[in-house]
C-alpha cells in the first residue's frame, strides 16, 4: 500500500475542482460564442433569404410561363426544333466533310511549314548567287542552278497552298451555311429567355436546392462561428454617411445606418406586400431609389426617421411605437423598452413628416408632407410664433389686430365679453380663450378672472388714442347716409372679399386643410354689426392702413358708394344676444386684491397699503390691467400702447424638437413621458400641467386655449418635433442657389398676404373660385353646370408662367399700384401695402420660378418690315382674326358688355414679353387652360390653320407679323416704327391713359 503523500490538500478533490472549473469555463466560452453568434438580425436575414428564394422562384416561374405563353416564342420554339432536326438531317452528312476539312487543315499546315523553310533557303541561295556574281566566283553556275531549283520549288508550293486554301474555304462554307439558320434561331431564343436566365442564375446563387454540391457545402461552412469573419452569407449591412454627422459628446462622427440589416426589402419595389421588417418603403419615387431626390446611399434612414442607426436589434435601434396598443404588442414581442439615453428616438409613424423640416425649413410648403404643411399653416394662423420665438417666422407681423384705437371700433361691453369667451361670439375665431380654463375654473379664480378682464378692458380703453372716423357721405333730402345693403351684398360677393373672409358659421365637423385655411386669412365676419359701427366698417374698407398700419387687409379701391353699400351689408349680420349678456359689476375688493398682488412685488407691505389707499378705482384697474396684459402677453399678438418694446412671453420653439423629454414638466399628469405626448396634451389643454398643483394666481400657466381638433394637434406636434437643432451639412441640403432663395422668399410673402386666396400659384390656391361660381349663379343667372364650367375665366388668373409672360419692371409697378387689366373680372386685384423689399422679392420670385433671367431679360425690339406690318394689320382686321371684337385698344372699347372684353393692347408693349405673345397667339389654351382667348391656330392641324392668302400661308410668319403689329398699338414712343408704309396705312396709336 503506497504511503499517502503528505499534502495540505486533497489531490482528488482538487482534480475534481479543476475539472468542474474547466468544464464551466469551456461552457462559458461556448456560451459566449453562442451568444455572440446568435444575433437577432440573423434570424431576419434567414427569413428574408427564404422570402427572396420564394420570390425569385415565383418570378422565375412566371417569367418562364410568360415567355412560353407568347405566340412568338412558341413559333420560335417550333422553328428551332425544325431547324435542329434539319441540322441533324442535313448537316450530319457534313460530318465527313468536317473530317476532310480537319485533314486538309493538317495538310495545309505542313505545306505552309515547308513553304516557309523553302522560302528561307531561297533567300540564302539568292544571296550566295549574288555574292558569286559580284566576286566573280568560279562556282557561279552551280550556285545559279541551286537558286533556280529552289525558285521552281517555291512556285510549285505556292500553287499547292492556294489550291488547298480554296478547297478549305469552299468546304467550310457549306458547313457554315447549314448551321447559320440554327445559330440565328438560338440567338433569338436567348433574347427571349434573358430575363429568366438572370433569375435562374440568381436562384442558383441563393437557393440551396438549385446549388451545386460544392456551393452547398460552402454555404454551410461560411456561416459557422469564428469562420464567419471571412465572407459570411449573413452579415451586417450599413450605409456610412460622411456628410450627415451625429453629435457624440462634443464630437461630430459620421452617421452609420445599419437599418438595412433587417429592413432588407426597403428599397426593392418587389417587397411591397411583404411583412415588416421587409416591406418596401411606401414612397420610392421620393426616397431611397437611386434616381429619387433622397437616394439611400446619400441620406440613409435616421436623418429623416431618427432613432439609433448603429443599433442592430429592435430595442437598440430605438424604435418608437405609434400607439398604446403597439407599445404593448412590442413589449410582448420584442421586449421593447425606452432607451432613455438616446436623445432622438425614432419618430413615431404619425409624426414621421417632422423629419422633413430640418432640411426644408425655408420652404413654405414641402411637397409630399401634407401633415407637416398643415401644422406649419396652423402655427402661422394661430400666431404661435408671436409668443414663442420660431426662427422661421422671426420677421412675421403680429397676427392680431391693432388695439391702439380700440375705442373707435367697439365698446367696453363688447370687449369684456370678447376677452371672457371669444368663441361665444365667433365660434371659429383664431383668438384663443384665456379665462375659465382648467386651472382657473374654481369659484375664486372665476370671480378674480371677471375683475381681471375689467382691468384689461379699462387699460385698453384708457390708452386708446383718438381716431376720427370719416363720415359716410350723405345724399337725398332729408339727407341720409349712403348705403344699400342689397347692393353691398353683390359688391362683397363679387369684388373678392371671399378670398380671405367668410360670413357664415362653419359646421362643427368642418375639417380644416390648407385650402380651406386660405379662406380664413381674415376673420369670419359673422356678428360684425354687434362688434362695430357702420362708420368704422366704411372707414376700414376705404383705407385699412389708416386704422392698422401693418394690417394684411389690402385696399380694394372701393368708391364711396361701393364702400357705403358694402358696409351697410356687412353690419347687417349681428349677434344681439352676445351684447345683451350682462357684464358683472366691478368689485373693488377683488380689484384691490389684484392690485395689491402686483404692488407688493415692487414695494413693502406698508407702502402697498398707503399706495392702495390713495389710488382711485380707475387707476387701480388701469394699473392692474397693464400688469395683466404683460402677464398674459396680449401685446405679443396685438399692438397695444405702452408695450412697444416688450419681448414675447413664451418658450422659444426654434429647437423644441431636440429638447429631451425629461426637461418637460409633466406635473402630476399620468401620460407617457415622451415629447409628442407632452406637446399634444399642452395643445389640447394648455393649463393641464397645473393639475393638483398649489400656485398663486400669477404663477399659474397662462397659455390660452385654441381649441384645436385632434388631427390639428397631431399636425402641429409634427411641426414642433421638426424644429430641431441638428441641421445637416450644406452639401446635402437643397441647392442654395440665388434662384432657390428667391423662390423661398417669394413663397413666404405669398403665404403672408394670401395671394393664393385668389390666384393659383405653383398649382395651388384659387380658394375664391367656388365663390365666383356662386356669384355667376346668383347674379349672372347661370346654371350650376354653366357656372362651374365658366368659373376659370371669371376668376383671378392662374399665375403659372407669369415670369415668362410679363416684364419684371411692369410687374413691379403693377404690384405697387394695380390697374385694371381684365375688365370682365368683377374680382379686383387690391392695392397692398407692399414695401420695396416685398415688391423686389415678388418680382424675383416669378422670374426665378420660370427660370427667367433677372432683372431684365434682353428686350427684343420687334422689327416689322412694311409688308409684315401690312399683313399683320390684315390679320388683325375684322375679315381675319377680328382681334378688336374683344380686345380694348387704348381708349377704343369693344362693343357689347365688359363680360366679353379682353385686355388692352396698349398695355402689351410695356407689360408682356414679346416671345410670350408669340406663344400665346400660337396656343393660348396650352398656357392658360380654360382661357376665353380662342385658339386661332388649331394645334391639331397647325400647318393648315392660318389663312392661305396671308404671308403665303406660313403660320409662324403670320404669328410674328400679328405680334409685331399688336406691339405698335401701344401708346409708347419707343414702339417700333414700321418701315416705310403707305401714309394712309400708318398706325394711329390711340392716346391711352390708364
Amino acid at each position: 500500500m503506497p504511503e499517502p503523500q503528505e499534502r495540505h490538500y486533497n489531490i482528488n478533490k482538487l482534480n475534481l475542482l479543476f475539472a468542474v472549473a474547466s468544464i464551466t469555463l469551456l461552457g462559458c466560452l461556448v456560451w459566449m460564442f453562442q451568444n455572440d453568434f446568435d444575433r437577432e438580425w440573423k434570424g431576419y436575414q434567414a427569413r428574408f433569404r427564404d422570402l427572396e428564394i420564394e420570390k425569385t422562384r415565383v418570378a422565375y416561374d412566371l417569367e418562364t410561363h410568360r415567355v412560353e405563353a407568347q405566340a412568338d416564342y412558341q413559333t420560335l420554339e417550333s422553328d428551332l426544333k425544325t431547324a435542329q432536326i434539319n441540322f441533324q438531317a442535313q448537316c450530319s452528312k457534313f460530318d465527313d466533310v468536317k473530317k476532310e476539312i480537319s485533314a486538309k487543315e493538317t495538310e495545309h499546315q505542313i505545306l505552309d511549314q515547308r513553304y516557309r523553310v523553302t522560302k528561307a533557303e531561297l533567300d540564302a541561295a539568292k544571296f550566295d548567287y549574288e555574292d558569286a556574281i559580284g566576286k566573280g566566283k568560279s562556282d557561279v553556275s552551280k550556285v545559279q542552278k541551286h537558286y533556280e531549283l529552289l525558285q521552281g520549288q517555291i512556285g510549285e508550293l505556292k500553287k499547292f497552298l492556294d489550291a488547298n486554301q480554296e478547297i478549305l474555304t469552299a468546304k467550310q462554307g457549306i458547313v457554315d451555311d447549314c448551321a447559320s439558320q440554327l445559330k440565328a434561331l438560338e440567338r433569338k431564343e436567348h433574347e427571349f429567355s434573358r430575363q429568366s436566365d438572370v433569375l435562374l442564375r440568381k436562384l442558383k446563387k441563393i437557393d440551396p436546392n438549385e446549388m451545386d454540391f460544392t456551393n452547398q457545402i460552402g454555404g454551410l461552412v461560411r456561416d459557422l462561428p469564428v469562420i464567419d469573419f471571412a465572407n459570411p452569407k449573413y452579415k451586417i449591412e450599413q450605409v456610412v454617411l460622411k456628410d450627415i454627422t451625429e453629435d457624440v459628446n462634443y464630437m461630430q462622427v459620421p452617421r452609420v445606418d445599419r437599418c438595412t440589416t433587417c429592413h432588407l426589402g426597403i428599397a426593392n419595389p418587389e417587397y411591397k406586400d411583404a411583412s415588416q421588417p421587409f416591406t418596401t418603403h411606401p414612397n420610392l419615387e421620393l426616397f431611397l431609389a437611386k434616381d429619387s431626390a433622397h437616394p439611400l446611399e446619400e441620406f440613409g434612414c435616421t436623418v429623416c426617421h431618427g432613432g439609433r442607426g448603429r443599433g442592430t436589434d429592435f430595442v437598440s435601434a430605438v424604435h418608437t411605437p405609434s400607439s398604446e396598443e403597439q407599445k404593448k404588442e412590442w413589449e410582448a414581442k420584442y421586449h421593447w423598452h425606452e432607451i432613455h439615453h438616446w436623445e432622438q428616438p425614432m419618430l413615431a409613424k404619425p409624426f414621421v413628416q417632422a423629419g422633413c423640416f430640418k432640411c426644408h425649413s425655408d420652404a413654405s410648403t414641402i411637397k409630399g408632407a401634407e401633415k407637416l404643411n398643415l401644422g406649419l399653416k396652423l402655427i402661422e394662423k394661430s400666431g404661435c410664433y408671436a409668443c414663442h420665438l420660431i426662427d422661421k417666422y422671426k420677421d412675421w407681423p403680429k397676427p392680431g389686430p391693432d388695439l391702439t384705437h380700440l375705442a373707435a371700433k367697439t365698446t367696453k361691453q363688447w370687449a369684456y365679453h370678447w376677452i371672457e369667451d371669444p368663441k361665444s361670439f365667433r365660434h371659429n375665431t383664431w383668438m384663443p380663450s384665456f379665462f375659465n380654463q382648467s386651472n382657473t375654473s374654481d369659484e375664486h379664480s372665476k370671480i378674480r378672472g371677471e375683475q381681471e378682464i375689467h382691468a384689461i378692458v379699462q387699460y385698453l380703453f384708457s390708452q386708446s388714442e383718438p381716431f376720427a372716423l370719416d363720415k359716410i357721405p350723405q345724399v337725398g333730402n332729408p339727407p341720409n347716409p349712403l348705403g344699400n345693403p342689397e347692393k353691398g351684398k353683390e359688391i362683397v360677393s363679387s369684388v373678392g372679399c371671399f378670398a380671405c373672409h367668410q360670413i357664415e358659421p362653419q359646421p362643427s365637423d368642418t375639417k380644416r386643410d390648407r385650402q380651406s385655411l386660405l379662406r380664413e386669412q381674415g376673420p369670419n365676419l359673422i356678428g360684425l354689426g354687434s362688434k362695430t359701427s357702420v362708420e368704422w366698417v366704411y372707414q376700414w374698407l376705404k383705407d385699412p392702413n389708416r386704422y392698422h398700419p401693418e394690417t394684411k387687409m389690402p385696399n380694394l379701391r372701393l368708391s364711396d358708394q361701393e364702400a357705403a353699400d358694402a358696409a351697410a351689408f356687412l353690419v347687417q349680420d349681428n349677434n344681439l344676444s352676445f351684447n345683451k349678456n350682462p357684464v358683472p359689476p366691478v368689485d373693488e375688493k377683488i380689484v384691490d386684491e389684484i392690485t395689491k398682488g402686483f404692488l407688493s412685488k415692487i414695494m413693502t407691505q406698508s407702502q402697498v397699503s398707503a399706495k392702495l389707499a390713495q389710488m382711485p378705482l380707475e387707476e387701480k384697474l388701469s394699473f392692474s390691467g397693464q400688469k395683466l396684459i404683460a402677464q398674459y402677453g396680449c401685446y405679443s399678438c396685438h399692438n397695444i400702447k405702452g408695450f412697444e418694446n416688450y419681448k414675447p412671453i413664451g418658450t422659444e420653439l426654434t429647437e423644441e424638437g431636440s429638447k429631451a423629454a425629461d426637461r418637460l414638466d409633466f406635473g402630476f399628469i399620468d401620460i407617457e413621458h415622451s415629447k409628442q405626448e407632452w406637446f399634444a396634451q399642452k395643445l389640447k389643454d394648455p393649463r393641464i400641467f397645473d393639475h393638483s398643483k398649489i400656485k398663486a394666481p400669477d404663477e399659474k400657466l397662462r397659455m390660452p386655449n385654441f381649441q384645436f381638433k385632434d388631427e390639428e394637434i397631431e399636425a402641429i406636434v409634427t411641426a414642433i418635433l421638426g424644429f430641431v437643432k441638428d441641421k445637416p451639412a450644406s452639401t446635402i441640403l437643397p441647392q442654395q442657389t440665388p434662384e432657390h432663395r428667391y423662390v423661398m422668399e417669394g413663397e413666404a410673402i405669398i403665404r403672408q398676404f394670401n395671394c393664393q386666396g385668389c390666384h393659383i400659384i405653383e398649382g395651388e390656391g384659387g380658394a375664391i373660385r367656388p365663390e365666383v361660381a356662386k356669384w355667376l349663379q346668383d347674379y349672372q343667372g347661370r346654371s350650376e353646370t354653366e357656372a362651374n364650367a365658366m368659373v376659370a375665366s371669371f376668376s383671378p388668373p392662374n399665375l403659372a408662367g407669369e415670369g415668362k409672360k410679363v416684364q419684371a419692371q411692369w410687374l413691379f409697378g403693377f404690384l405697387h399700384q394695380p390697374t385694371t387689366i381684365r375688365p370682365w373680372l368683377k374680382t379686383r386685384m387690391p392695392t397692398y401695402h407692399f414695401n420695396a423689399n416685398h415688391l423686389n422679392a415678388l418680382v424675383k420670385y416669378f422670374s426665378a420660378l420660370d427660370k427667367e433671367e433677372f432683372p431684365f431679360a434682353d428686350q427684343v425690339e420687334p422689327q416689322a418690315s412694311g409688308e409684315e406690318y401690312e399683313e399683320g394689320k390684315k390679320l388683325f382686321s375684322q375679315d381675319y382674326f377680328s382681334c378688336g371684337s374683344c380686345h380694348i385698344i387704348g381708349e377704343k372699347m369693344p362693343s357689347g358688355t365688359p363680360e366679353k372684353w379682353a385686355p388692352d393692347f396698349a398695355l402689351a408693349f410695356k407689360r408682356l414679353k414679346p416671345e410670350w405673345i408669340k406663344q400665346w397667339i400660337k396656343n393660348p389654351q396650352a398656357l392658360s387652360p380654360g382661357t376665353k382667348m380662342p385658339t386661332f391656330f388649331d394645334p391639331e392641324s397647325f400647318d393648315a390653320a392660318g389663312p392661305e392668302d396671308v404671308l403665303n400661308g406660313d403660320e409662324n410668319l403670320q404669328i410674328k407679323a400679328l405680334r409685331d403689329y399688336i406691339l405698335t398699338l401701344s401708346n409708347n414712343q419707343s414702339a417700333p416704327k414700321p418701315a416705310p408704309a403707305p401714309a394712309s396705312a400708318a398706325p394711329q396709336p390711340p392716346a391711352t391713359s390708364q
Partner: protein
C-alpha cells in the same frame, strides 16, 4: 393609323353582325311645361352689328322654348340604364352644329362617342367654339370669317356640357356625348322618339338646362311602341 382603321371597321362589322335581333321597339312621348310661363327678356345683340342684321325681330333666349300648347323643345331624353353592355356602331353621318344669327342650332345636341361633329359658321363674323367639357379635352377654337367649317370628335362619354362663344356671351349650346344611340332631343312641338330599342326594361332620363332632370321607367317588348311623357315645372 391604318391599323386603327381596320380594327374600327372590324369592330363595326362585328357589332352589326351580332346586334341584329329584335331591334324594333320605339319609345316616344311629349315633353310639356306646367305652370306660369316666365317672362324672358329678348337678347340684346347690339354688341355685334352682323348678329343684329341676321334677325328681323327680337330674338328670344333659347333657355326655355315653348310652343302655344306649352310643349317644350330642347329637352334631351336618353336611356340611362338597362342597356346591355356592348359597343354600338358609330354613325358615319356627322352631327351638324350651326352658328347662325349668333345662336346655336340646334341648341341641345346629342352625339355618340367617336361621331364627328361638324361646326358651321355661316354668320360671316368671328365666333369661337369653347367646349367647356371636363371629361373630354376642353378646347376653344376660333372660327374667323374665313373659316366656315370645322370638325371635332369627342372620345369619352360626358353628358351635358356647355359650348360657348366668348365673343357673343349670350351664345350657349349644350352637348351630350353618349355611348349608345338611344337618345333624342324634343322638337318644337315637344315630341321625341327613340327608335329601334331592343326589348327590355329601361330607365329614361329627360334633361333640361334650367329645370333639371326627370326619370321614368319603361318596359318594351319587340315591335312595341310605348309612350312616355314628361312634364317640367319651375321649382
Amino acid at each position: 393609323m391604318k391599323k386603327f382603321n381596320t380594327s374600327t371597321c372590324s369592330l363595326i362589322i362585328s357589332v352589326i353582325l351580332l346586334g341584329v335581333p329584335a331591334y324594333a321597339a320605339t319609345i316616344k312621348g311629349v315633353v310639356s311645361y306646367e305652370g306660369e310661363v316666365p317672362n324672358l327678356k329678348p337678347i340684346d345683340m347690339g354688341a355685334d352689328a352682323i348678329c343684329l342684321s341676321k334677325h328681323g325681330s327680337a330674338v328670344m333666349p333659347q333657355i326655355l322654348v315653348l310652343d302655344e300648347n306649352k310643349k317644350m323643345a330642347n329637352v334631351l331624353v336618353q336611356i340611362v340604364s338597362g342597356l346591355p353592355k356592348q359597343e354600338y356602331p358609330v354613325p358615319t353621318e356627322p352631327v351638324v352644329l350651326t352658328q347662325e344669327g349668333c345662336q346655336y342650332h340646334p341648341h341641345v345636341v346629342g352625339v355618340q362617342v367617336g361621331q364627328t361633329v361638324k361646326v358651321l359658321n355661316p354668320d360671316g363674323t368671328l365666333h369661337n367654339v369653347h367646349a367647356l367639357c371636363k371629361v373630354n379635352a376642353e378646347f376653344n377654337l376660333a372660327m374667323p370669317k374665313f373659316r366656315t367649317e370645322m370638325t371635332k370628335v369627342f372620345d369619352k362619354v360626358e353628358t351635358m356640357f356647355p359650348i360657348k362663344c366668348d365673343v357673343h356671351p349670350w351664345m350657349a349650346g349644350w352637348v351630350a356625348v353618349l355611348a349608345h344611340p338611344y337618345f333624342n332631343v324634343s322638337q318644337t312641338n315637344g315630341a321625341f322618339e327613340i327608335a329601334n330599342v331592343p326589348a327590355g326594361t329601361y330607365e329614361l332620363e329627360a334633361w333640361h338646362e334650367k329645370l333639371g332632370t326627370q326619370k321614368a321607367s319603361v318596359t318594351v317588348t319587340a315591335d312595341e311602341t310605348k309612350e312616355v311623357n314628361f312634364t317640367f315645372s319651375r321649382p
